[in-house]
């Protein structure tokens, strides 16, 4: 009777292609398991995502898979879910204080940032000047990815210098314009541009192309979007960070459905996928390679 | 100057209330006032006279705290008086009726009357008392306006009466009235003047600005005349004449409202004919509507429309012009039935309308004089890419500046900086520039000085001689009588009579305007 089951699938905001992909994967898995997805877009706004959860509970959903906008701000909503006795699995960002979360499936953003930092160490063993394109100020992925990057590179402050750290608000057009401004103002060219998402990285790469610096300045992004994969394949961007969002989604839905149908708790309430840096060499590990034409 | 009193002397029997010394005010390009002295005693009514742009309103605004003088001193009851804002003037008992309305259109009549001093306790308004006091203030003026109505739904005349009611209901020592009667008709003017006499009896000082000199002769004690921002002189009313006042204002003799060498109706098809026209009031279902109006105007004829405030004259004009929709009847232009759905349609048929409410319905306050004047005529101009040049606009302004005596610094000046009368002339020019076949003017000389009024009258006469059909709506009966070849009267939206020019007297018109039974349409 999985037919009658409804699962709330909630993501922080569909204005980021990353979550579009994640939601698609959740819905596909829910449908594949014979249940009905109830999709919700948090529109980057914690009260809105809370409202979505409440609407889902009103509707009487049987389970919830959600990627919380903010781990702290979504705690009360998770408590409401707990009070209603509905099982929930979280993805991507973990809410440590929440009771009754069946499991968390994720690839930590801090870990992803650290992977970027490690890649810089490996690629430039003799040190490098770095431009850091940060995400939207105050947004938790922006904070975490930045933190990861600094965790690694701050240990080698003598060799690795941040020539500039500027936000481009996760947006491609701002990635482009901020990079343009930096390229014309920095006394020396940077060796590498580390970007907190692929959109900004792709924008930065267009700026490099405009000044014939492609290849001379390396660009690494985050999220492994198809556009970025294509760019890497064609010798554009140097790399990106893969967090396996579809894998996360599938696993999360799987855990939830197994619990609902068979009352079987997962072996572990924490499933962590290790984010990896994708480059031209290991591009085949990319989850969304098939979307690249 | 041959003024019968020295400028600035006060009637010996009256204690001094206000004393102005050496007040000057400059605007960019204009010295609006230079070195004005003025005195006013308690219980005195002082007429402040002058042509359009002479500086009357500017002086009054300085007294009311709306604008600051550049130099000069003012004493009120012997104490220096420098109001920085209107509320300070009011706190000193100086109350002003401004030339341009200062009502809040979105609030009720009662709130407008009581604004800032609503009865109540602890900041809470006592609504019952507010409406009561307001109704009382209105009825003292003999008005039956519902105090709950929104001001924006009132006719211009009613709005003016609300302004007056507000001022008269305040605790005042000095009341300043800037053209309070410009939008009123005979009956309201009478009531206002009666009230002025009562206030005077209570020892309140009044400064009274008007272009209607007969009013000056009936209520004022003294007149002070300004010209180009300077004091020309003063005169005791008891010992002066209208002609003398005019001479002081314009510096030459001027025949009082002489009949215009007008119009001779040309035979043949009427330029405009309306048959059984009906309208419904769009803003207020309870207000008068126009019912079953049939009339016609020949080319070259000036048709006057007389009526009391709220008789529906404005409604009729707006309906013909397509500004409001009609609910019945037909309109014929040069014998052809036409469908007029918008002012644009009317203009295309050669009809023009000078509306009565200058500020709301005619002026583009943010734009220059030349833009304001050219707004209709540019529709007729044919040029590649619809090119409109500044030079062409300025030329237009210069053409009418002379013809109408418009006083301004430059055609590029914002129209909001012109004096009220000069604004009205610009609006008139806008329509003259279009050379219409039928021109409807609603209160065409509202706020226009005597000299210019004569010019406007002459102009309308010449238009008629050129074969244009002119419809004149005016609350000043002498004006209608002087201008029109034929006069129709309205009451409560219905035609009540028709008089040929030579037979019309103010009395006969008044009788028709207040007539109870409507005439059957011809």
């Amino acid at each position: 009777t999985a037919k009658d089951l409804t699962i709330l699938t909630s993501v922080p905001g569909l204005n980021f292609p990353f979550f579009v992909h994640m939601l698609k994967a959740m819905k596909a898995e829910v449908t594949a398991q014979g249940a009905t997805p109830l999709e919700a877009d948090g529109q980057n706004n914690a009260p809105k995502q809370t409202a979505d959860v409440e609407a889902g509970l009103t509707k009487g959903v049987d389970g919830i898979v959600m990627s919380p906008i903010d781990v702290n701000a979504m705690a009360p909503a998770l408590n409401e879910i707990a009070d209603a006795g509905v099982p929930v699995v979280t993805i991507d960002r973990r809410v440590p204080t929440a009771k009754n979360v069946l499991a968390h499936v994720g690839a930590d953003n801090v870990k992803g940032g650290e992977a970027q930092g490690q890649w810089v160490l490996d690629t430039f063993p003799n040190g490098a000047t770095i431009v850091n394109l940060q995400g939207q100020p105050g947004a938790s992925p922006a904070i975490d990815r930045n933190k990861g990057l600094h965790n690694v590179l701050d240990a080698h402050k003598d060799k690795y210098k941040f020539a500039a750290e500027q936000t481009a608000n996760f947006a491609r057009d701002q990635g482009l314009s901020v990079t343009e401004a930096l390229l014309s103002s920095l006394p020396t060219q940077p060796d590498v541009i580390v970007s907190a998402n692929d959109d900004m990285a792709l924008g930065a790469f267009e700026a490099l192309k405009g000044r014939n610096l492609q290849g001379k300045v390396k660009v690494i992004g985050f999220d492994a979007l198809p556009d970025a994969l294509a760019s890497i394949r064609d010798g554009g961007m140097a790399g990106t960070v893969e967090q396996f969002p579809a894998e996360q989604s599938k696993t999360a839905v799987d855990i939830l459905m197994r619990y609902i149908k068979e009352k079987k708790k997962p072996d572990s309430d924490l499933v962590l996928l290790t984010p990896i840096v994708l480059t031209k060499q290991n591009l085949s590990k990319a989850e969304r390679l098939d979307e690249v034409k | 100057m041959t003024a019968s009193g020295l400028a600035g002397d006060t009637h010996p029997s009256r204690p001094a209330l206000l004393s102005v010394r050496g007040v000057s005010k400059r605007f960019p390009g204009v010295q609006a006032l230079s070195g004005i002295d003025l005195d006013l005693g308690t219980g005195e009514v002082l007429a402040l006279l002058g042509e359009n742009g002479a500086g009357k309103s500017t002086l009054l605004k300085i007294l009311s705290g709306a604008q600051a003088a550049d130099v000069g001193t003012i004493l009120l009851n012997g104490v220096p008086y420098v109001p920085a804002q209107p509320h300070e003037a009011q706190a000193n008992g100086v109350v002003t009726i401004y030339q341009e309305f200062t009502l809040i259109p979105t609030l009720s009549v009662a709130e407008n009357i009581m604004i800032g001093r609503e009865p109540g306790r602890a900041g809470f308004v006592h609504w019952g008392a507010t409406f009561g006091v307001a109704r009382e203030a209105l009825s003292r003026l003999g008005l039956s306006i519902n105090p709950r109505r929104l001001v924006r739904d009132l006719s211009v005349a009613d709005q003016q009466m609300v302004e007056i009611a507000r001022a008269l209901s305040m605790e005042a020592r000095l009341i300043i009235m800037d053209e309070p009667t410009a939008a009123l008709s005979v009956a309201e003017v009478e009531r206002l003047l009666a009230l002025v006499r009562i206030l005077k009896g209570r020892g309140i000082g009044i400064i009274y600005v008007t272009h209607r000199l007969d009013e000056v002769m009936t209520v004022c004690d003294r007149a002070t005349v300004l010209r180009d921002g300077r004091l020309v002189g003063s005169a005791d009313i008891a010992t002066t004449s209208i002609d003398h006042l005019i001479r002081m204002m314009v510096g030459r003799d001027l025949g009082a409202m002489a009949p215009v060498e007008g119009g001779s109706a040309r035979p043949g098809v009427p330029a405009l004919r309306v048959s059984r026209l009906c309208t419904r009031n769009t803003a207020d279902p309870h207000a008068t509507t126009v019912t079953d109006i049939t009339l016609s105007v020949q080319p070259g004829e000036i048709l006057g429309i007389a009526g009391l405030v709220g008789a529906g004259r404005t409604e009729l004009a707006r309906a013909i012009f397509g500004a409001d929709s009609i609910t019945g009847g037909q309109i014929f232009v040069e014998g052809r039935e036409v469908a007029i759905r918008s002012p644009a349609d009317a203009i295309a048929l050669g009809i023009g309308l000078v509306p009565e409410d200058r500020k709301q319905q005619a002026l583009f306050l943010s734009l220059a004089i030349r833009n304001n004047m050219a707004v209709t005529a540019m529709g007729r101009r044919r040029a590649p890419f619809d090119y409109v040049s500044d030079a062409w606009e300025r030329g237009l302004v210069r053409e009418f500046q002379k013809a109408l005596g418009i006083r301004m610094a430059s055609p590029d000046q914002a129209i909001g900086n012109l004096s009220g009368g000069n604004q009205q002339k610009v609006v008139l020019a806008r329509w003259l520039a279009l050379k219409p076949k039928i021109l409807i003017v609603d209160e065409p000389t509202r706020g226009i000085d005597v000299a210019a009024k004569a010019e406007v009258h002459g102009l309308l006469g010449r238009l008629a001689q050129d074969g244009i059909a002119v419809i004149v709506i005016s609350s000043e009966l002498p004006e209608v009588i002087a201008l029109a070849d034929r006069i129709v009267t309205l009451r409560e939206g219905r035609l009540t009579g028709e008089v040929a020019r030579r037979k019309a007297t103010e009395e006969s018109l008044m009788r028709l305007m207040t007539l109870r039974t409507a005439l059957e349409p011809a």
């Binding site: 569909l14 999709e39 919700a40 009260p47 609407a55 009103t58 105050g138 | 003037a89 259109p105």
Partner: protein, 340 residues
């Protein structure tokens, strides 16, 4: 006709169906919308869901009350979202005893009670409102520009203060103001309704309220009528600051967390509530009642479409269309009345 014209017969007016329709058009539209949702999804009308909707709108609703005052004066305040975040962070810092004592579950040693936190949030809100009001009335910079600047500046200040991250984990006496209930009614709803009633009374029955309408109806006429226009304008922005502070506090309590990125994009939602409720952006016309209806309408829309499982892309299309439709209905009803 020989009867006196109706104008002569003031006060008493006949029953006016179109007048009622015009007056309550937004409410009627809301009822219709709710009926549609209820038909398609019966759970929509459950008490718990309706209370949820009210709780969801209570934060932006508080802002909308303040915004009604602002817009009635023909002003606007784009900074509400940023100011809300700023005040929320301030409340959190006071409650936790410093930004350093960050993140969930931190020790409460140096922290203060919710009372002081609320006070601090509201005080900061009022101060910021005062600043913006002064720029508007003294430097005569248009409200749109001042509050656009404020929107950016307050957000920057918030991020600086919070050092980017959120501050979470308050004690229960604090979170009660966002998560608790009084009787069966959620606390934020109680706060929202109480302030809505109060604001209604102020606007309708006090001299200050009437002056707000007067200034919005025609500022120059109000000045010439002897009103102290700058003081009234200033008060309105101070009031908006107060509501931003209060809303920031309640939001922090509700989420048990104050975030530097809270309230982004709120300005449009809040202004939309006010405008859908029939308040004119050109000032002088509008009511708190309308604003409350407008806020509920937006809340109902968001909630109902999720309940109906409408895809989120289509949701955005539907929301856009219904907002326009609601106001078109209002306009139509009012024009019918004119014509009647």
């Amino acid at each position: 006709m020989t009867s006196a014209p109706i104008t002569q017969n003031p006060d008493k007016q006949p029953f006016d169906a179109f007048g009622l329709l015009a007056r309550f058009a937004p409410l009627i539209f809301l009822v219709i919308l709710m009926a549609v949702f209820a038909t398609l999804q019966p759970r929509f009308l459950s008490t718990i869901n309706l209370l949820n909707v009210l709780r969801q709108i209570s934060i932006s609703g508080l802002l909308a009350i303040g915004m009604t005052f602002v817009i009635l004066t023909a002003g606007i305040d784009l900074s509400v979202g940023s100011l809300l975040a700023f005040c929320g962070i301030v409340a959190a810092i006071v409650a936790k005893g410093g930004a350093a004592g960050n993140f969930a579950g931190g020790g409460h040693g140096a922290g203060h009670g919710w009372g002081l936190a609320l006070l601090a949030a509201v005080a900061v809100g009022i101060l910021c409102g005062l600043l913006q009001g002064a720029a508007i009335t003294k430097a005569k910079v248009p409200p749109f520009v001042v509050t656009l600047g404020g929107m950016s500046a307050f957000r920057g200040a918030t991020l600086l203060l919070a050092n980017g991250g959120p501050i979470s984990g308050f004690d229960e006496s604090f979170t009660f103001w966002g998560q608790g209930r009084i009787g069966m009614i959620p606390t934020p709803v109680v706060i929202f309704i109480a302030f809505a009633v109060l604001a209604h009374l102020i606007l309708r029955y006090t001299r200050f309220g009437r002056q707000v309408y007067a200034v919005g109806g025609n500022a120059e006429a109000a000045r010439l009528s002897g009103l102290k226009v700058p003081r009234i304008l200033l008060s309105v922005y101070v009031l908006m600051g107060f509501f931003s502070g209060l809303a920031g506090f309640v939001l922090a309590a509700r989420l048990n967390s104050a975030e530097a990125v809270a309230g982004i994009g709120y300005e449009l939602t809040v202004i939309a509530s006010v405008v859908i409720g029939g308040t004119s952006l050109f000032g002088g016309i509008g009511t708190i009642f309308g604003t409350v209806v407008g806020a509920i309408l937006i809340g109902v829309l968001l909630n109902g479409l999720v309940l109906l499982n409408v895809s989120s892309y289509i949701q955005q299309i539907v929301i856009g269309l219904i907002i326009v439709l609601a106001v078109a209905f209002d306009t139509y009803a009012k024009s019918r009345r004119r014509r009647a």
